[in-house]
Structure formats: C-alpha cells, structure tokens
Symmetry: C2
Subunit: 196 residues, 2 copies
C-alpha cells in the first residue's frame, strides 16, 4: 500500500513532504486537504491527527505520522538527504528545529497573511516583519561562501528551509537583500527538481 | 575534553540538555549564561551561536551545536532514549517538533512572563493562555492509558515535553485539570532522576 499524504498544496510544510517523496522515488497518494476550508478540523481528520494540522502521512499498516520535519526525517532515513557524519546530522537537526521555531512562525505567517488573508504588507505586525527579516538575515550569513546549509550536499535542512524562503516575497519580504539566499534557492530547487 | 554547555538554569530548554547528559553519564562543564542579563547577545556569544540562544553545546574539537532538541538528539544517539524501531523514532520526532512549535511558545512563554517578567496570570494574552491549555489538553489525551509519550520507555519526546510542562503552574496554568499529565510528570522525573 502506498503512503497516503494529506496535504495542502499552498503549504510549504506540505510541499517539503512531496519533494522528499519524489526525490526518493517513494510512491504515494496525495489527498488535497484545505486548511482555509477547515478540512483539518473535521472530526474524521482530528481522529487521525489530534493536532489538526497538515501534512499528515498515513504509513504502512495505517500508522499516522504528523509534523513535516518528522515525516521527512522518517522518509529519508538511510538516504543521502541525511548526512552519515554524526556532527553534520546534528547540525541538520539544529537547522530543522530552528526553522520551526524561528523562521516558519514569521516568514510563513507573513506570506499567509498577505497571500491568503488579503492583508497588505504594510498592515503586517512590525515585530513579525522584523523577526522574519532576522531569520532571513541569519540564513544569508550562513550561506555566504556555502553550497548548502550543512556541507556540500543537499540535506533535509535545505528541504525544510527552502520551503517558505523561496516564497518569502509573497509575504512582502524582499529577497533581493539576501543574494546568497537567492543563489542557494536556485541550487536547492535544482537539487530537488522543484518545478513550481 | 568534556563537552561545554552554555545554559541558563531557569530555562527548560537548557535543563533538557543537563538531564540528558546526566542520565547518559556524559561528562560536561556548565557555564551559566543568563538570558535576562543579555549574556546570550554579547559579541562573543553570538560568534559561537548566531541565533543568540541557549542552550549551546561546544562539542569535541570546539564544534558548536545549538537548539535543545538537536543537542539531545545528538547526545542520545545509540542510547535507549531513542527508540530502535523506525516508526517509534519518527513519533518521537513528531512530539519534539510539536513541542517547539505548539507547546513551548505558549506554555514556556506564559511561565516566563509571570515568573520572570512579573506579570499577573490575569494579564497574559488570552490567546496565549488558550493555546497553552490546548497544548496541555492534547498531552492529556495522549497520556490517558499510556506510560510515556512513545511506547513503554522514556524517550527524548518525554525529555522535551516534560521540561516546561512540569513548571507550567509557574505561568498560572493549573495542571490539576490534567491528571494523566501529572502522573506522567512523576514517571518522567523518576526515570530521568530529576530532583529539582
């Protein structure tokens, strides 16, 4: 039985899972599940994921797994997307936890409010904008002179961070200020064969 | 050379690292680093961790590692704190990412504002309180009839979640509403030999 993914195609967190599955040639079925339409809050969905969030993977035997970065960590075990070196692997986790705590809540939320809630960028909370730029600036500094976030190969750290960084401009965040980030996005999209 | 930890003893994120090191009998040196005094924002500290956060581990060879859940994942590799079964390991990650995204930003922040910024619980943002209780309620539902968060043994999921849950009352969050959580805290403290 193929892995079943409940995902919303407008969500970077969900696209991380799609890209990882396709990169690794893992068969899957995708059930489009709209956050805006409340489809993650129905009793049926909450029975599968009490957190009421997508992405949600239903693995072999009907076993559910939530949290984008947990899902891609599971799917990619044993692949080149996870470094074999213990320290490099730990740095990958560092970026992935940082992404969920210090990047997604600002960069993704700015985009959501502008693109899906219809706010003007000028209406966004100034602290949100400041923290979003702080996260992008930190990425810029890490990527100057680097190929990928951890070493010379594309890892799950890049998968996790590129998801909302590549669409940050949709939240009014001007990526032209971050040239190393822009060049890295091109490299990650090429490595993962991201087309849209 | 022993592992060097920069940590703030009032921070649950830092205590996760301390408990893991002591449980695994890993020698370490602890440098108390106060967030409130700005010691994580000095040029020297930012040179080690550009995110300006504790905990920070300096591993063998002077290699830095940040993010509490990344540090404990690295320290505990190969130990019983990480399940050998792939699905159980993935569920552990699910809880750890959920902790940083949906629990810590509410449960820990409520406690920080009350205990360290001197706010009255009644002054806290109502959405913050609602989300903190939402996180605690989700833990309660997961723990009814369970021994630990993943299977029958204490894992890093328990380490990560117990850190701020056990001090949630310091943020005015009444844990008496969550009897399965209270019983689990006792089990995790016993398993990890947490004394204070």
């Amino acid at each position: 039985m193929a892995i079943q993914i409940y995902g919303d195609s407008i969500s970077g967190n969900c696209l991380k899972v799609k890209w990882t599955l396709e990169y690794l040639n893992i068969p899957y079925r995708w059930t489009e599940t709209s956050v805006l339409k409340g489809e993650t809050r129905t009793p049926d969905f909450l029975a599968m994921n009490p957190a009421g969030q997508v992405p949600l993977a239903i693995l072999e035997g009907g076993r559910p797994l939530a949290q984008s970065n947990a899902i891609i960590s599971h799917l990619a075990e044993g692949s080149a997307l996870i470094p074999a070196d213990a320290y490099a692997r730990a740095k990958m986790w560092e970026w992935m936890f940082w992404e969920q705590y210090s990047h997604e809540p600002y960069v993704a939320v700015a985009r959501f409010q502008v693109t899906y809630l219809g706010k003007a960028p000028s209406e966004l909370d100034s602290k949100l904008i400041e923290r979003a730029h702080g996260a992008l600036q930190r990425l810029e500094e890490a990527l100057v002179g680097a190929t990928f976030l951890v070493g010379e190969d594309c890892t799950l750290a890049d998968v996790a961070l590129v998801a909302y960084t590549r669409v940050a401009h949709e939240g009014g965040l001007d990526l032209a200020r971050y040239p190393a980030v822009l060049a890295w996005i091109v490299r990650v999209e090429a490595a993962l064969n991201i087309k849209d």
